[in-house]
């Protein structure tokens, strides 16, 4: 049966998608602009007899996720930038112990307490691990409410498959805006298989005792564990890279933007095309793994890139690494919670076309 289209806020759609993905436990702490998500989970998780806890801090919330995930249950937390900073220790431990988890960052502008308007200044934190030690998390960046729901739903299975936490990096605009959304089929958590690496149910699982830990004081042992994890990262890079391209084929200048700034670039692209300019859009959906190979291929074809971000320039570094000096990479950014208008981005592309 075809599902109805529902008009929903991004934050609530993320919550509904998580419930449908079979999330058994949600732990959160209030912070704007993601509060509707925590409230949605309180209402719907408790109504379904699942676990919802308003934790005493983001640190506690991520460590509750660590405990719940240790039992093999689908577990999730969400926050916004300052709160996600507090979760970094826990994310490092999750990665060190090879535990799955879904973490949503409805990002705002920083640094520090910053502001509560949308921002993309958490790109470095999200794509470079964020906490201490050698690790990455998978980072998915939705551009709207439908994609926020789809990626959140899928984040649980991706995370379980690779035993790597998945970070859904949205921003305050995507969290707060309303769009039509159709949800995937609900999964009953009771039907999900038990994990052979998890704690609990020893007798039923007929297994030896399990120890969930990131501790390894033997340098050779720790190095070996890290190398195994990085082999897995290699497979993730081969299998998981996702992006969207619009009008890239004949374009002279290609915008590179994700999330909200990609929406703005799409508007600027239409203005440019109407004015007869050959402009395209490349939108990474996985920020880690980053679609470097595809960008390198486009650089080989002589395209110039204009990276547009709601920050002082973070993803632009990955674009430059990908094209490796072959073509110019320009940057246009607004920050502090400002969202660039399509007019100002169009003006920038006109300026570059004239160079």
């Amino acid at each position: 049966m075809a599902e109805e289209i529902r008009l929903m806020k991004g934050n609530e759609a993320i919550g509904e998608a998580a419930v449908r993905a079979g999330c058994r436990a949600y732990f959160g702490y209030p912070i704007t602009p993601q509060n509707e998500l925590t409230a949605y989970m309180a209402k719907h998780m408790l109504a379904k007899g699942r676990i919802f806890i308003q934790a005493e801090s983001e640190i506690a919330a991520i460590n509750m996720v660590y405990g719940a995930s240790s039992t093999g249950a689908r577990a999730m937390t969400s926050s916004s930038s300052p709160g996600v900073s507090l979760k970094q220790e826990g994310i490092s431990y999750l990665c060190g112990a090879d535990l799955p988890a879904v973490i949503v960052n409805v990002a705002r502008a920083g640094p520090g307490l910053g502001g509560i308007s949308p921002g993309q200044g958490d790109y470095f934190q999200a794509t470079r691990g964020g906490g201490h030690g050698d690790y990455y998390t998978i980072v998915l960046a939705p551009k709207g409410v439908q994609e926020a729901a789809d990626l959140t739903y899928e984040a649980f299975s991706i995370s379980e498959k690779w035993r790597v936490p998945v970070l859904v990096l949205a921003d305050g605009l995507i969290g707060q805006m309303m769009e039509g959304v159709v949800f995937p089929e609900p999964i009953d958590p009771a039907t999900l298989p038990r994990k052979d690496w998890a704690v609990g149910h020893v007798t039923e699982m007929h297994r030896p005792y399990n120890h969930v830990t990131s501790l390894n004081l033997e340098p050779d042992g720790l190095e070996a564990a890290n190398r195994i994890r990085f082999e897995r990262y290699g497979h993730i890079k081969e299998e998981l890279v996702r992006y969207e391209e619009i009008d890239v084929d004949d374009a002279d200048i290609v915008f590179v933007a994700y999330g909200t700034s990609a929406r703005v670039c799409h508007g600027a692209l239409e203005m440019a095309r109407a004015a007869g300019m050959k402009v395209g859009l490349f939108r990474p959906i996985t920020l880690w793994p980053f679609p470097s190979a595809r960008l390198a291929g486009l650089a080989e074809r002589g395209k110039r890139f204009l990276c547009v971000e709601m920050s002082m320039g973070q993803m632009v570094e990955d674009v430059r690494l990908a094209v490796n000096g072959k073509v110019p990479v320009y940057f246009y950014g607004r920050c502090g919670g400002n969202i660039p208008s399509q007019e100002e981005v169009f003006a920038e592309v006109k300026r570059l076309m004239a160079l």
Binding site: I51, Y66, G67, Y93, V199, N210, H211, T213, L215
Partner: protein, 256 residues
């Protein structure tokens, strides 16, 4: 002939990394004995803390999870909420529980989380080499209190009585303080642990057994001196016994 005193099944018979005279080993043993007596080896999960007992998973023969320093009550919350019919043991040191993890223990206790905390109070940071803990006694020496803990002039604060602190919270049902400095206290402590575990399995609420424990290495004493020092100084400040017992079911545990 039946063996009357044997090695508990839930504890591996290997040598530990603990120093001679350390209380952790004795505490491990009585926990394992209670688990065996309750037949819960396959249902037990311990969260071993950052501290000297971080390797508890090497010694206990059942499932374990190792969380970040001080976050053990939050991780135990996640585990117990997912596996309410399992025995979840949140093992913590005094630095772990009463310093870096103060928020986590207070809120887990206040929510009435149905796991049992085993709080090993040795009045010192053992693993990092003898720094002052929140439970270090006034005047007691530590590498970071070289002239002894001075609450006033040096502003080092006073030792925290954790059971008494948590007793005001309605979520706490059973808070007891024992010691492992001699056989009598060890037996009493084992009895507290059994009561707490039984209450946990009945789903009563938050339970904790604080255990005064020797750290001869960082107290810079012999084993014998350390048990005497504990008796004279720690027990004088940290009153032994059931600090709070509002368990609804009649206590079934007997002193063994």
């Amino acid at each position: 002939m039946e063996l009357a005193y044997k090695h508990p099944k839930s504890l591996k018979s290997i040598q530990t990394k603990y120093c001679p005279g350390c209380g952790h080993g004795v505490i491990h043993r009585i926990i394992a004995e209670v688990i065996d007596e309750m037949g819960l080896q396959n249902k037990a999960i311990i969260t071993n803390p950052v501290g000297c007992s971080v390797w508890a998973d090497l010694y206990f023969d059942f499932d374990s999870v190792q969380p970040a320093h001080g976050r053990t009550p939050a991780a135990s919350t996640g585990i117990k909420r997912m596996l309410p019919d399992h025995l979840v043991i949140c093992y913590q040191g005094d630095g772990d529980l009463a310093a870096i993890g103060t928020a986590e223990i207070i809120h887990a206790a206040n929510r009435g989380e149905k796991f049992t905390t085993i709080f090993v109070n040795n009045a010192i940071y053992g693993m990092t080499g003898g720094q002052m803990a929140p439970t270090t006694l006034v005047g007691q020496h530590a590498t970071t209190a070289p002239e002894g803990r001075d609450p006033i002039l040096a502003g080092m604060g006073y030792p925290i009585r954790v059971c008494e602190l948590l007793a005001t919270l309605e979520g706490t049902k059973y808070l007891a303080r024992g010691a492992v400095n001699n056989a009598v206290n060890t037996r009493k402590t084992k009895n507290y642990i059994r009561k707490a575990f039984e209450a946990q399995m009945r789903g009563e609420g938050f339970t904790m057994v604080e255990i005064l424990s020797q750290c001869p290495t960082n107290w810079q004493m012999t084993s014998l001196e350390s048990v005497e020092w504990l008796e004279k100084n720690m027990i004088a400040f940290y009153q032994l016994g059931e600090i709070k017992n509002t368990l609804s079911a009649p206590a079934t545990a007997q002193a063994h």
